[in-house]
Every structure is written in structure tokens, then in C-alpha cells.
């Protein structure tokens, strides 16, 4: 479904992503594990079109997307729930969600259906749907960000550190939800996480990225057992 070949991206003069090859197949749930500054965010922004790679090709559903602007990529069914959330702080929760479905604006019924699904998953969003998103706490905003990404009904959903800054209870809940999205809704998911423990628990396959390069890949079970991974990312 998604296929990266030799993708490299520069930030400033620095090669934050370096010849990355990666593949995600239809229906899969794949994790991207790496420490700070490993290049996960950069890679995801590159896939989503917010950054342009200077080398390599990115294919989504058979079509090259590395030169497309972000909006075209979303339209193709690939949506990124970004690090730092990037909500519309002065707009109400409701408007944020509706804008999440911007690419589906001609499908009103579908949008309403997704909206009620999203409200079911995150009841707090329904209760406070008129509140400006910017006044939410960090965790609440994270939930809204995931919800907004879901609104576009993506074929492939990329989540950049959804557990960041979340309370333990919430982390659990979020991972359940993500799994649910993958299993029930059949959405393919690419998840970037530092919390390898959580990520490897719920995904099927994973890539470990360090210094912008993929250093390991394999099934989640394999990775969990890998000594290196345990030491660096699970910490026990």
C-alpha cells in the first residue's frame, strides 16, 4: 500500500532522514520506533508531503506521491495525525472535527456517521464540542487530534507519538482505540512511538529507526525480544 525507497530528507543542512526503505501493506498495523531526534517525525512529515524529500520515491496505492502537496496526499487517503497536534486553537472542537473531514465535504451523511463514531470513542469531545480547542489540556488536545485525523476516513492513518504527554490510563485507552481502528474499521496504521513497550504490544510489525536510518525491522514479537531494542527503548 505504502512503499518508500531510498527516501532522504534534509532539515536545514542536516539529513534527518537517510535512505529509508519501508513498506506497509493493506490492513497492517506497523510501528516506527526510535528515540529522540531519530527522524520519525521528519519521515512522517515527508510522507505526508509537509516536507519534500531530495532523493527517493514514495508510492501510495501504486502512485508516486513524493512530489504532491499535502492536500493532494490527504485526498488520496493518507492522513497524518501530527506531532504537536496542530489543532485550530480558536475554532470549536466541532469545527476542528468538521475540518478533519474537509476532503469528504461532499459526503455529508458519511461525515455525520464518522462524527458519531468519533464521539462514541471520545465522549469528552461531544460534551465540550463548543469549546475552543486551544483551551483544552495537552491530553485532551491529543485526543482531539486523533479524532480529527479519523474524520477523513483515511485508508492509511499515520500517528506521530499519540501517547506523548498522556496519563497512563489515557495511554492504555488510546492504544485500545488505535487497535480498534485497525481491527474494526480496517484502517491501515503506521504508528511512530518512543514508547516501544506500548507500540510493540499492539502492532504486528515494526521498524527501528536511528539517526534517520532504518536499523532493524521485523515482527513486533521479534523486536520485543531483541536485546538492543529492549535496552534502548523498553528500559528493562
Amino acid at each position: 500500500m505504502l512503499k518508500l525507497e531510498q527516501v532522504s530528507t534534509r532539515i536545514g543542512g542536516y539529513r534527518a532522514v537517510n535512505s529509508v526503505c519501508l513498506e506497509v501493506r493493506q490492513g497492517e498495523f506497523v510501528s516506527l520506533i526510535g528515540g529522540n531526534g531519530a527522524g520519525k517525525t521528519t519521515l512522517m512529515r515527508t510522507i505526508a508531503g509537509a516536507l519534500k524529500p531530495f532523493q527517493g520515491s514514495i508510492q501510495f496505492m501504486g502512485a508516486a506521491i513524493e512530489k504532491l502537496p499535502p492536500d493532494r496526499i490527504v485526498r488520496a487517503g493518507l492522513c497524518l495525525c501530527p506531532e504537536g497536534r496542530r489543532l485550530f486553537p480558536q475554532l470549536s472542537v466541532y469545527k476542528n472535527l468538521i475540518l478533519g473531514a474537509y476532503t469528504r465535504r461532499n459526503d455529508r451523511l458519511g461525515v455525520q456517521r464518522t462524527l458519531s463514531q468519533v464521539y462514541e470513542i471520545f465522549p469528552v469531545l461531544k460534551v465540550r464540542k463548543e469549546q475552543p480547542a486551544g483551551t483544552f489540556s495537552g491530553g485532551e488536545q491529543q485526543m482531539l487530534a486523533i479524532a480529527r485525523a479519523l474524520m477523513s476516513e483515511p485508508k492509511l492513518l499515520m500517528l506521530d507519538e499519540p501517547s506523548m504527554g498522556l496519563a497512563p490510563l489515557m495511554v492504555e485507552k488510546v492504544s485500545e482505540i488505535i487497535t480498534l481502528i485497525n481491527v474494526e474499521m480496517g484502517t491501515t496504521i503506521l504508528l511512530a512511538e518512543q514508547n516501544a513497550h506500548m507500540a510493540l504490544n499492539i502492532t504486528q510489525r515494526g521498524y527501528v529507526i536511528e539517526n534517520g536510518k532504518v536499523v532493524l525491522e521485523g515482527s513486533s514479537a521479534e523486536l520485543s525480544d531483541n536485546e538492543q531494542v529492549r535496552k534502548a527503548y523498553i528500559g528493562a
Binding site: 509537509a50 492536500d71 496542530r86 489543532l87 485550530f88 478533519g100 476532503t103 477523513s152
Partner: protein, 287 residues
């Protein structure tokens, strides 16, 4: 009382143009965080285009006005594309310099091509009528009404249409907007275009009662800046109310206290209001 009423109408009429220009400045700032000091010059260009459509191509007034809006719509989009888009990542002050560059370019281009002297559009509605003892020319009433209509249309557009939604979203988080699938560059261009078209409308509306000269937008843009700050950065209702307030302050201050210092009242009011409320009347956050 009659005097007061007359001055109030004068103020509302002044305010109407202010609002139309200030709305453009506000929208541009809201979406692109750039202080559009060249906006008064787009206004001027709008008036010239209407003038030439009428005198050279024998258009009648309303078609000329609309065509002028259309032309400015495209010019605005073009300027955004070739000047401000490359400056996207730069600071506000760089954008300010670019705006000065545009302003010099437009003003002197117009001066060189069409001469420094003033032009006049024949007034389509020269009659005046008496309202409660105050004398108002028909064209002035039209300016007031047209401003109200344009403002209402703009509000509807922003609050009720999806494209309007995207403008608000882009104003608040550009990358976020891009990631939900909004073409933010198009939104920027569109905003600039609409803002310039509004300026053209304002200029074409007042052109028959005033005159058209290359410098006609210079002071106006300063007032638009004051209004957009007064109302709170990027706040559209703020700009509307701020515009009318400024018009009234000028008319009443100029009429009752001192006409030489009427602009002092307008600009002084800004400093006073900000001293009390540092984020403007409708402002929420800091700049």
C-alpha cells in the same frame, strides 16, 4: 441635534470605506500574519481601473465597479503568489519591507503611466436628499449601503461556507490545515484576492464623490492599520466595529473640537484604548 445627526452620517460614511479596507488588512493579517501596508495602494489601483473602464471603454458605473473588483481579485492573487509566497517563512518585518516595495512600485508606476494629476469619475447619482434635516448625497447613501451588503456577504462566506471555514483554519494553524487536506497556498491567494477586491469596491464606491490620485491610499491604509489593531488582531467583527468607531470619532471630534487635529483624535484613541486593553477591543491572545 440636526448638526449632530449630520456629523453622525458623515462619520458612518467615512467609517464605511474604512471598514472595507480594514477588513482586507485584517483578513490578510489573520491568514498570513503579514501587515499589508500596501493595501491602500490596491485600493487606489481599484479606483484607477474603474476610472479607465468608464472613461476609455464607456462602461457604465456598476459593471465597471464589478469588473474592477475582478481585476483586483486577480492582481491580489498574483501579488501573493510572486511576492509573499516566497517570503512565507520570513519574519513580519521582511514582509513589511516587501509591502513597502509593492507600495512604491504601484504608486510610482501609476504616476508614470497615468500622470500625477487627479482624475474624476462622473458621479452616477449626483442628487442629494434630505433626511431628518441632514443633507445626504445619494452616492453617499449608496456607499453606506453597499458597505453593509459587502460586509454581510463576507461574513456569510466565512462563517457558512466550507471555503470560509478553511480560511479560519489556515489562519490558526497552517500546517495543521495542510494536513487535513486544505490547500493552504490557495487559501492565502484567495484571501489576498478577496481583500484586494474589497479594497477595489471601496475605492470605486467613493471615487465618484472624491478624486482619484496616486497617493489616495496612503493615509487610508494607516487608518486601516489602526482599525485592525483597535478591533483586535485578525478579528473581523473587531474590524467592522473599529472602522465605524473611527469614522465617528473623526467626524464628531473634527466637527466639535478641532478639524486640524481630527486625525489626532483617531490615532490618539488607539493609544488610549490599547493602554487600557492591550489586545484591542475584541482581541483575545497576544500578537
Amino acid at each position: 441635534m440636526e448638526l449632530f445627526f449630520q456629523q453622525t452620517i458623515n462619520g458612518i460614511m467615512l467609517g464605511s470605506t474604512y471598514v472595507l479596507v480594514a477588513l482586507g488588512v485584517t483578513m490578510i493579517y489573520g491568514i498570513m500574519r503579514l501587515p499589508s501596508f500596501a493595501h491602500g495602494h490596491f485600493y487606489m489601483l481599484g479606483a484607477y481601473i474603474t476610472f479607465f473602464l468608464i472613461t476609455l471603454y464607456n462602461f457604465s458605473y456598476w459593471p465597471a465597479l464589478i469588473l474592477s473588483m475582478v481585476v483586483l481579485f486577480f492582481i491580489g492573487g498574483l501579488v501573493e503568489r510572486i511576492v509573499f509566497r516566497p517570503l512565507r517563512e520570513q519574519s513580519q518585518i521582511s514582509n513589511f519591507i516587501a509591502a513597502i516595495g509593492i507600495l512604491l512600485f504601484i504608486e510610482h508606476m501609476v504616476t508614470v503611466i497615468w500622470g500625477p494629476h487627479s482624475h474624476r469619475i462622473p458621479n452616477p447619482y449626483p442628487e442629494h436628499i434630505y433626511l431628518f434635516g441632514a443633507s445626504v448625497s445619494q452616492q453617499r447613501l449608496i456607499v453606506i449601503l453597499a458597505a453593509v451588503v459587502l460586509i454581510a456577504l463576507l461574513q456569510l462566506f466565512i462563517k457558512k461556507t466550507v471555503i470560509g471555514f478553511t480560511m479560519e483554519a489556515t489562519a490558526q494553524d497552517r500546517e495543521g490545515a495542510a494536513l487535513v487536506g486544505i490547500n493552504v497556498n490557495r487559501v492565502s491567494s484567495l484571501t489576498f484576492s478577496i481583500a484586494c477586491a474589497l479594497a477595489a469596491a471601496a475605492a470605486s464606491l467613493v471615487a465618484p464623490i472624491f478624486v482619484i490620485v496616486p497617493g489616495m491610499g496612503s493615509l487610508l491604509v494607516m487608518k486601516a492599520m489602526v482599525i485592525f489593531i483597535l478591533g483586535g488582531l485578525g478579528s473581523i467583527p473587531g474590524a467592522i466595529i473599529g472602522g465605524y468607531i473611527l469614522g465617528l470619532i473623526e467626524a464628531l471630534g473634527g466637527g466639535y473640537i478641532s478639524s486640524e487635529y481630527k486625525d489626532v483624535f483617531a490615532f490618539g484613541a488607539l493609544i488610549l484604548i490599547l493602554a487600557i486593553k492591550p489586545t484591542g477591543i475584541f482581541g483575545k491572545g497576544a500578537a
